[in-house]
Structure formats: C-alpha cells, structure tokens
C-alpha cells in the first residue's frame, strides 16, 4: 500500500509550441480504483495518458506511478504499467501468440510463466480463434482484446486504457466492459473515454478535462453521474461557442 495515490500528477504542463495541450493538471488516483479521464475531443486526454505511460515527457510538472518518479525512472514505471492505446495498432507481421510472447519477453517473464500467462489470457479474452493469426490483420474487436491482453500479460499495478471501446459494436463493448471490471480486481485502471455511460457503469472517480485544464474531479456520484458530466460538457461547449461569436 502506498502513502499517496498509485498515480500522482502535480502541475503537469505540455506545450506544443504556443499551444498548451495540458495546463497545470494535478490529480491523484488510489489503489484499485477505476478512474475515468473524460473530456471532449482535443481536451488533452490522450496527451495526458501518453505522459502517464512514459510515451511522452511533460513540459513541466511531476508524475509518480506506483511510487516511482516517472520522469527520472521512466523504464521502472513502464515495468509496472500496461497501456492500451487508442485504436490499437498491432504488428502486422507477428501472430497474436508472437506478439504476446514479445511483450512477455520484454517484461522479463520466464518462459514457463510467459506461456502460462498466454494460455490464461487466451481463455480469459477469448482469443483462441485468432491466436495463430497475424495480429495486425485481426478485426477491430479482436485487436482491442489482443491489445488489452498484451497490456496485462505481466500483471501490472496500473493499466491505462485509451478509449478502449471506440469503434466497437454493442456486443464487443459489453464484452470489453466485462474485461475491464475483471481487471479492476487486481490492478488500478485509468480509463480515458468520451462515453459518459461507460464512466457511469465502470468508474468510481473521474477527472474532466477541458482544453487541457482540470474542469472537475471527484467521485462519479458527486459529479452527478453520466447526466452531471454531460452537463459539464454542455457548459464547456456553450462557453466555447460564446467565445467564438
């Protein structure tokens, strides 16, 4: 158990030239939480996730994941996290088994452990039909599941999911929700989405980003559930419209 949160961000800034993609973002996520990152398109959700996973460095600010300074010890943090990017793109020349083996090897799993994890994940995520197919050639639904399986093969402390149900049909969405619920038992889950129902169903707490700034954060119930968050979105949209006119 950590003194602070499993994920702690303080005063995060990310600039792209004159544009502030993130501006003074601070928050903390507790162990075992399913934490929602919300915001309209372009609000900075993906930028924030990319920083939290060590893919990009912030312009300023600090992040600690699992008690480790992400900026100074990025690789140590990346050993403890799993990441499913938005619209997961998988290696077209590796089979699903090959991809899972590659990720398992990079995480330093022993051969026996790796194979037993792959077997468990194939059953858990229903990948039996595609296990020997080229990963990049699988359908969108399968790609999402494969990417999720790759993200958790090493049983990470924190799993970051960037719009995991985007573009999936209702049945696939339902299946993915189930998988996320099951994940939440063993890991902290950070879920970036613009689907408010998803947040209502899955998340205990959420952070709403608006043009790179924290608009609101707290328990989903405190934010008024999906309806309350929708109201925040409406307000920000109307404010933007007013500013444009």
């Amino acid at each position: 158990m950590m003194d602070g949160g499993v994920v702690e961000a303080k005063g995060l800034w990310k600039d792209y030239g004159p544009l502030h993609a993130l501006a003074d973002v601070s928050f903390s996520i507790g162990e075992g939480e399913v934490f929602g990152l919300l915001g309209r398109n372009g609000s900075g959700k993906t930028t924030l996730l990319r920083i939290l996973t060590g893919y990009r460095l912030p312009t300023a600010g600090s992040v600690r994941v699992a008690g480790i300074d992400l900026i100074r010890r990025s690789r140590a943090v990346r050993r403890r996290i799993g990441y499913m990017p938005e619209h997961p793109q998988l290696y077209a020349d590796l089979t699903v088994r090959g991809l899972l083996r590659f990720v398992g090897n990079v995480h330093g799993l022993s051969r026996a452990r790796r194979e037993s994890r792959i077997e468990a994940l194939v059953t858990h995520f229903g990948l039996g039909a595609v296990i020997d197919r080229l990963a990049g050639h699988c359908s969108k639904g399968y790609r999402a599941r494969i990417s999720l399986a790759a993200a958790v093969i090493h049983e990470p402390a924190v799993v970051f999911l960037d719009e995991p149900t985007d573009g999936l049909d209702p049945e696939q969405r339902h299946q993915t929700h189930e998988l996320i619920r099951q994940l939440a038992g063993g890991s902290t889950v950070v879920l970036s989405t613009h689907d408010l129902d998803e947040v209502g169903v899955l998340c205990s707490r959420a952070l709403v980003l608006d043009r790179g700034r924290v608009a609101r954060t707290g328990a989903v119930d405190e934010l008024g559930g999906a309806a309350g968050i929708a109201k925040i979105f409406r307000e920000t949209r109307e404010r933007d419209r007013e500013q444009e006119t």
């Binding site: 893919y55 990346r78 990441y83 290696y91 590796l94 995480h107 330093g108």
Partner: protein, 263 residues
C-alpha cells in the same frame, strides 16, 4: 541483453516477413550473377582476342600480360559493382525500421514497454546487420564457386566479403539514422541515398579544394576504405572507419529516440 535479443528477434521476423527482404535477396543474387558472368564473358573475350595477337606467343611462353587474370578482371570489378548495388538496395531495407513504426503507430506500443532507447536502437541495428549477413552471403556464392573450380586465392575473396559486410553495415547505419529522423519512408530512403552517394567518393570535390582538405576528403570516402579488401588487405584503419560510422549513426539514432519523447 535479453531485451535487445527480444527486439532483434521481432525485427528479424518483420524483415523476413516483408517482401522487401526477398526482393533484396533476389536482386542481390541476380545482379551478382549478372555482373560476375558479364565480367567473366569480357575476360574470355579478351583472352580470345589475345590469341589472335602477338600476346598469344607470350601466353604460350607462360608470360601472361600483367592484369590479365581472373582476380583483376572478374573478381575486382564484381566487388565494385556489388558495392554499388548494395548502396542502392540497403536504404530500401532500412527506410521502414523506425518510420514504419511511427506511420503504423506501433511505436506507441514499443515506447511504452520497459525498453531503453539503447535497447530499441541496438535491437533494430543488430537485426538489420543479421539480415545483411544473409544478403552479403548471397553475393559470395559466385566467387566461392569460381574459387573452387579455378583455384583462385581465397584470401582476397574472403577479404572482399568482409569489406562488403563492413560497407553494408555502414550504409545500413546511415539508413537507420535517416529512418529515425525522417518523417516518412521515402524521405528516409532518399536521405540515406544522398548521404551514402555523397560520401561514396569525394574525389570529384578534390578538384576544388586544397591539399589538407584533400587528405580529409580522401579519408572520409567510403571507396578509399573499400579499396584494400579486394586485394586481400584487412586494415585496422578501414575497420575503425566503418565501425566509427556505425557507432556515430547508432548514437544519433539513440538521441533521436530520446528527443521523440520530448515532442
């Protein structure tokens, strides 16, 4: 080391799964055979012409005119021709190593795994080098057959193969750093061509420079350091030059990966 080997294995799987790999191997085998046979044909024609001239008497007397031998007339030009084909081919193999990751957005997966920039770059460099071993091995086939059947000295042949390997590694390293820096594969390949062709032979530039600069340009030319290998000379200075190019390109690639995280 295990992480580097894991990346190497993944990259090799990717290389051998791509049509470019087989195109490269086929192109190498074909061009090498054509050059070798063409040079051999020219050599035979010259021998036939000599038979009708006064040199015929010389040959009969056992004094072959200088330069008229399989080594100088067949092997040497074939090595030069092969080096040029490699120069044209290698940027096509290396152009996608980093660019394609970015274009397909698989870099997001790779860069969020617990791999250092050194491990990623080392895995990709070593995989390319291993693949080039196969490409250069194909080029060694014809001279090896010739050596077996004609009793040609194997020393220069082996040294030529070593030279072609070093040249391939150096050009591949340039291609890899271009792939790491460029925004797309075409730019990566064209930049690699431009740099490789520019440093291939600086002699054209020497007409406009002074003596001191001449010496520097002469040292920097790829061909200067290739010259000894087909003669059977493996000089440490040539190896240092080629390895220097590889290490320099590797370090630049590593820096480029680190800078990518800042963007």
């Amino acid at each position: 080391m295990r992480a580097v080997l894991t990346v190497l294995r993944k990259e090799l799987t990717g290389l051998f799964a791509s049509p470019i790999a087989y195109l490269a191997l086929t192109a190498m085998a074909l061009s090498m055979s054509l050059f070798f046979l063409d040079n051999l044909k020219a050599f035979n024609t010259q021998l036939m012409l000599l038979q009708t001239q006064t040199a015929f008497d010389q040959i009969r007397a056992g004094t072959i005119p200088p330069g008229l031998n399989l080594f100088q007339q067949v092997l040497l030009p074939t090595v030069t021709d092969t080096a040029l084909v490699l120069l044209a081919l290698i940027p096509l193999i290396t152009m996608g190593m980093f660019c394609e990751e970015r274009a397909r957005r698989t870099d997001e997966l790779l860069m969020t795994l617990p791999l250092s920039h050194t491990q990623i770059a080392a895995g990709k460099f070593l995989a390319t080098f291993v693949f080039l071993l196969a490409v250069v091995a194909v080029t060694a086939l014809m001279p090896a057959i010739a050596a077996v059947h004609t009793g040609l000295d194997t020393g220069p042949i082996l040294a030529s193969v070593v030279g072609l390997l070093f040249l391939s590694f150096a050009v591949a390293s340039i291609g890899l750093v271009c792939s790491a820096l460029a925004s797309n594969q075409l730019v990566a390949a064209l930049s690699a061509y431009a740099i490789s062709m520019a440093i291939l032979d600086f002699s054209w530039m020497m007409e406009f420079t002074g003596n001191a600069v001449d010496r520097v340009l002469h040292y920097l030319s790829l061909m200067t350091h290739m010259a000894g290998f087909p003669r059977g000379v493996i000089a440490l200075s040539d190896i240092v030059y080629f390895m220097g190019l590889c290490v320099g390109a590797f370090l630049l690639t590593r820096v480029s990966l680190a800078l990518e995280r800042i963007h």
